[in-house]
Symmetry: C2
Subunit: 304 residues, 2 copies
């Protein structure tokens, strides 16, 4: 008999979060997300399309700046400076990857941290990394800027009501966009975290130990059913294309036979990562709003 | 027959590094480290004494600011601001822990990141966290600001010529001063890292899997010989006192029976952590120096 697996419907979770955000937006006033993309990588363009569509569904203005691959880095930095200064812009997102000749770190570091919806500026990533152990149900999480992938994992765990504290989590892949921040988050939530990478000599030996398994390598079907233990919660952050078909890191059918919960690709963690991006945008817009009000008060004091 | 264990002499390693730094200092000119301590915790004072002595041995001016426990936080922040501005100060160190009523995060965040020898300001910790996988022998490491405990672990691994790539490392304790940055460093160096904490249900089951074992909990003799596998490299970041006697996290005698390499407490990782602090100070002083020269050039341009 086939075990009952619960498939996590990422699109439904994202819609629920977007509905919540829509309510929150009512008390904020108009906000704008700007995106910068260099070159015409198909993946970048399709991610931007999703972000633009969801943003507009929320009633958020999304402005895309598309630079040709031949544009100079200086031009990119000038654009960021201009958006940093623009009070009508609450969020700035540089779509990664940039062309290989672009100095990614320098570009990201130029973004005003108060507008950094991806939580990739060192000061934001640092604040996130330095978070002490917190209870997973703590209200604090909603007030913290988290990398969108980490916030997506937190949302999923809350939805299935599974506290990672005392659990063994295996995170495969340690990139800055997904594996690394998710390892950090799960550790902050009290899990024992095994961070694996391309040098891990016997990956299956590690993944079989997972109660929570997160894979974020971009290697299609890296994780086969034989590599996981029954009852695992399997979260797929992978995204690749084989002959035009979108494929995750998990071999879905064989892993689903053993998992208690599993996310598909597409329609799993991806949409929740995008709604998390907007959660970050709204958090930042509220902080900027408070700051402006404080500045206004201070200036008024000065005028009196 | 007793296995041959190699005991790592941290004092000798620290002396070797200090000798190297002394050479480097010749080309820099006089530099100053300032420390701030609040209250009179015995541990804080004894750490500061060691830092002051080693600094002076190097010919570095070390100025200690001692605030009474009753001092106001505002006064602490003003002191930091003054040291931030003071061009004769290259490094600022706040001795932790601060009294419980002091807002530690706010205090640390006020330090000019360019003078942050502990690599605890979010922008520095973030830059460190975002480091991609690097070869352990890469020259890049010496140009990066690392948390002193992480730099100490790197120094030890280089000294015993043991690359962590593809190895299984277990890090017990996930505090911001030691466990967390060391987990991050070992992962960046290509190890598969198991980050354990106080909620790990069966700690011995994890520690027995370690090829590199790092313990940073402050729980005396937490790690017994029965909890490690033969051949382990055991690094002790613990520091506690039992009846006045200094004690590490490892039960030294029983772990030493099985370890290939082991650090004692005292005289192990501790002194190398302090010499790492001065390596950071000199790195920062050189950066400030370059920056000043650039500023000077720019101002001259403006005057012409």
């Amino acid at each position: 008999m086939r075990r009952k697996t619960n498939r996590i419907d990422g699109r439904a979770l994202a819609q629920a979060e977007l509905a919540r955000l829509k309510q929150e937006l009512k008390s904020i006033g108009p906000i704008q997300l700007t995106t910068i993309n260099v070159g015409r990588r198909a993946d970048n363009l399709s991610y931007l399309k999703i972000k633009t569509r969801l943003g507009r569904e929320l009633g958020i203005k999304v402005t895309n700046y598309q630079l040709p691959k031949s544009a100079s880095v200086t031009k990119g930095l000038q654009l960021i400076e201009r958006l940093n200064q623009d009070q009508a812009v609450q969020g700035i997102l540089v779509q990664l990857p940039l062309p290989p000749t672009w100095p990614q770190e320098e570009i990201i570091n130029r973004i005003n941290p108060e507008k950094d919806v991806d939580c990739l500026h060192p000061v934001n990533f640092g604040r996130f990394s330095l978070t002490p152990q917190l209870d997973w149900s703590s209200e604090n999480w909603s007030q913290r800027l988290l990398p969108p992938t980490a916030r997506a994992v937190l949302t999923i765990l809350k939805t299935i009501n599974y506290s990672p504290r005392g659990r063994r989590a295996v995170v495969v892949g340690q990139g800055n966009l997904a594996g690394k921040p998710i390892s950090l988050l799960l550790s902050q939530l009290g899990a024992t975290v095994i961070s694996a990478n391309e040098f891990t000599p016997d990956l299956a030996r590690e993944t079989r130990r997972a109660e929570i398994l997160v894979s974020a390598t971009g290697q299609p079907k890296l994780i086969q059913g034989a590599m996981v233990s029954p009852g695992v919660i399997a979260l797929d952050l992978g995204f690749s294309r084989i002959k035009g078909k979108i494929q995750g890191d998990l071999d879905f059918d064989s892993v689903a036979l053993k998992a208690n919960w599993i996310t598909p690709v597409p329609g799993g963690v991806g949409p929740i990562t995008v709604s998390s991006l907007f959660a970050n945008l709204i958090l930042l817009a509220k902080r900027q709003d408070t700051k402006e009000r404080v500045n206004f008060r201070n200036n008024r004091h000065r005028l009196l």
